[in-house]
């Protein structure tokens, strides 16, 4: 980007992406409820942390995200290995079905799960809540794990598994000692993506949460739907900083790794 016009255009897009967020964050410090600036305050942050409902939702969100991403990672990694060993037509069918939660509109996935859980609920006598949300989250996270692990499996020289067997490993041992370290980066990014998607999910949670179970995105919806709530601004500011930190850390780490492999 040497030309001025290029820089200008780049600046325009960046401003478009960031100005709304900056505005949002700036007004979390506004001592007033409207868009008129009434002086600096931190009271919305205090209110945010004192809001037990929000804190409970945060806890729920993290719990669901941790459990869903871990279970999806195990389920997805095992599935990726199994699917890898299917041949031709069967594999294509399985992969396509597996991708349905990714390509299907979220809202359709949401309502379809709601139908399932309502029916199963009336048959087995339970209400939608934590468990149904967790199941739904595992459902949309697992395909992402598979999508991340499969290329690693394909890239792996399958003879290293045979070499481990050849040197005396049982199949299970060979998997843990040789295959797992090779596909670990794929598993890890699958876990990371699952975790963030679970954290951020609104639509599918909305349809599977029942009437009582709250997650942070649901809380944000109740806070911002059809009214102004400076606590939402404060929450945005915190989320923004956390996201920025995580992304910078990941970036630095992958930079280091890239340098290592170049060396």
């Amino acid at each position: 980007m040497k030309k001025f016009s290029h820089k200008l255009y780049f600046g325009f897009i960046m401003a478009f992406l960031y100005l709304p967020l900056i505005y949002l964050i700036a007004y979390s410090f506004n001592d007033g409820k409207t868009s008129v600036w009434k002086g600096f305050t931190l009271k919305w942050y205090v209110a945010l942390f004192q809001d037990s409902q929000i804190m409970q939702s945060l806890y729920n969100t993290l719990l669901v995200a941790v459990l869903a991403s871990l279970i999806a990672t195990v389920l997805g990694t095992l599935a990726a290995i199994g699917i890898y060993n299917f041949k031709g037509g069967y594999r294509t069918i399985i992969q396509n079905v597996s991708n349905i939660p990714i390509i299907n509109p979220e809202i359709v996935t949401g309502v379809s799960l709601m139908l399932l859980f309502t029916m199963a609920g009336t048959m087995l006598g339970f209400e939608m809540g934590f468990v149904t949300v967790l199941l739904a989250h595992i459902g949309f996270c697992t395909p992402y794990v598979i999508l991340n692990v499969t290329p690693r499996l394909k890239r792996m020289d399958s003879s290293i598994y045979e070499a481990a067997l050849d040197l005396g490993c049982s199949p299970v041992k060979a998997f843990f000692k040789v295959v797992l370290p090779e596909i670990m980066p794929g598993i890890f990014s699958g876990l990371l993506i699952s975790f963030t998607y679970s954290l951020d999910d609104f639509v599918i949670t909305y349809f599977t949460r029942g009437s009582k179970f709250q997650t942070l995105p649901i809380q944000i919806y109740t806070m911002t739907h059809q009214r102004i709530n400076p606590k939402a601004n404060a929450l945005s500011a915190i989320l923004f900083v956390v996201i920025l930190l995580i992304l910078v850390l990941i970036n630095v780490r992958s930079d280091k790794e890239a340098k290592k492999t170049h060396a």
Partner: protein, 472 residues
């Protein structure tokens, strides 16, 4: 020789989909020998190795290890170790941990492991490389680590799957000698797979030449070179002039219309044979002293000798000689009878014989349709009544490699391509039979091609119905 058999393969059959990979392999491997499975790619040599290693199960047949059947023994319970084609070193471990991998599984003490690894590093000349990352090693070094990793486990048999294929020529030559030395030093049985005939001849105690899922010949390198079992082996190992000949009687063969003396016996009188003459066995003499007279067409200096191409009776001969002949000059050629190798033809008949029945016939268009291996094939310019039984004799020139999708038979395997001085003799294998084809073009062995028939060159005989023919 009274040697102990360590691995023994009996009637091994293996297929993948419709493709037969191994078709009845029988092989005894002796203790402490360096044996090489040699053949073009797709001949089944790697599959054979993987069956010994336990990575795949034969569809039928038995694998014996010191007389014990081991078909159902998984690879990790066989005292056999493999050096893989692309080394298959564990990228997340360093040199030391790669080599120690197998030992750790055997629950040895740390000191023992260290001792063995150090010893092995010395053997493969990699002292001081313990802590190196695999990705920071050169191809040759990785190769040595792979060998060390297999040898350190003290296997009875070491399997090597084209281990030098990825190295450049110079390094490959060095490693060939080194591997042989390592084998002699460690006194292990080495089963080596390669498609490089020179490599096989240099290193092996015995060579197993394979083609199209079967063993073509087993013998010492000298045997294989000097007494090839058939034209395929002669063609594959070293350079050779391979010609069609007719065995007149014991010790007399006719080549290119000239009668020559040889030492082979036992062929039927006047039977067609393949005649193999190595280029270095041809002596250049004055044209007056020989029945074989030709014109030198080309001379290339090859370092130790000159390679000359000589045209004699329409046939191309290759001669190796330390004396160069002028291009265009006329020379005579003689061959010691001992150096004329006679072998039975791989395709026993001179023509392709087809037995079939007329399916439809169209008198107006003057065509008939017959089936060959379930393909309906229309033959123009012929008319026989529907249901007539035919015996068609199709000469080798009546077959062609067709373009994709327009062949009479879609997938035919090229089993061998042998240059017979003036054209290529190609043996093809379809689902049910083999075909002999003659072509001026070179084709890639072990590939699948569509073929089409040219029936204008064929002769058609009607087989008489019911009993009459049987009665003679």
């Amino acid at each position: 020789m009274d040697k102990k058999v360590i691995v023994s393969l009996r009637d091994i059959f293996f297929d993948y989909g419709n493709e037969v990979i191994l078709n009845g392999i029988n092989l005894d491997i002796y203790d402490k020998e360096f044996i090489t499975l040699l053949g073009p790619s797709g001949c089944g040599k790697t599959t054979t190795l993987r069956i010994i290693g336990g990575f795949i199960d034969p569809k039928s047949g038995d694998v014996f290890f010191e007389e014990e059947r081991i078909n159902d023994l998984p690879p990790y319970k066989r005292n056999v170790n493999t050096v893989f084609q692309k080394y298959a070193l564990f990228p997340h471990l360093n040199v030391y941990d790669n080599i120690a991998f197998g030992l750790r599984l055997k629950k040895m003490t740390k000191a023992e492991i260290e001792n063995k690894v150090k010893h092995m590093l010395a053997i493969v000349d990699l002292k001081g490389y313990e802590k190196r990352k695999i990705n920071n090693l050169s191809g040759g070094q990785q190769q040595r680590v792979a060998i060390a990793r297999a040898l350190v486990c003290d296997p009875d048999v070491v399997l090597l799957d084209e281990p030098l294929g990825a190295l450049d020529l110079k390094l490959r030559k060095d490693m060939q000698i080194e591997l042989k030395k390592i084998q002699q030093k460690t006194k292990k049985t080495f089963v080596y797979v390669t498609h490089d005939q020179e490599e096989a001849l240099t290193m092996s105690d015995r060579v197993v030449v394979m083609n199209n899922g079967a063993i073509a010949q087993i013998g010492t390198p000298a045997d294989i070179y000097n007494e090839p079992a058939n034209a395929f082996v002669a063609d594959f190992i070293g350079e050779a002039n391979i010609l069609n000949g007719i065995m007149l009687e014991d010790c007399r063969v006719n080549i290119l219309g000239h009668e020559l003396k040889c030492v082979d016996k036992g062929f039927p009188k006047n039977s067609p044979v393949d005649v193999v003459i190595r280029p270095e066995d041809i002596e250049v003499v004055s044209p007056d002293d020989s029945v074989l007279v030709g014109t030198v067409e080309d001379t290339i200096f090859k370092g130790v000798h000159y390679e000359m191409s000589v045209k004699c009776n329409k046939c191309q001969w290759i001669i190796h000689s330390t004396v160069a002949q002028k291009v265009g000059s006329t020379i005579g050629m003689t061959v010691d009878p001992y150096n004329i190798h006679i072998m039975p033809k791989m395709f026993l008949l001179p023509n392709n014989e087809i037995f079939t029945t007329v399916l439809y016939s169209d008198e107006e268009a003057n065509t008939i349709t017959v089936t060959i291996e379930d393909n309906e094939i229309e033959i123009p310019e012929r008319y026989f009544e529907e249901g007539t039984k035919l015996h068609i004799i199709l000469p080798p020139t009546g077959l062609h490699i067709a373009g994709d999708g327009v062949g009479d038979l879609d997938e035919v395997y090229i089993e061998s391509v042998i240059w017979k001085g003036e054209h290529n003799e190609i043996i093809l294998e379809s689902d049910e039979r083999k075909w002999l084809m003659q072509s001026d073009q070179d084709e890639q062995v072990a590939t699948y091609v569509p073929i089409s028939f040219d029936f204008s060159k064929a002769t058609f005989n009607v087989i008489e119905e019911e009993g009459e023919a049987d009665e003679d």
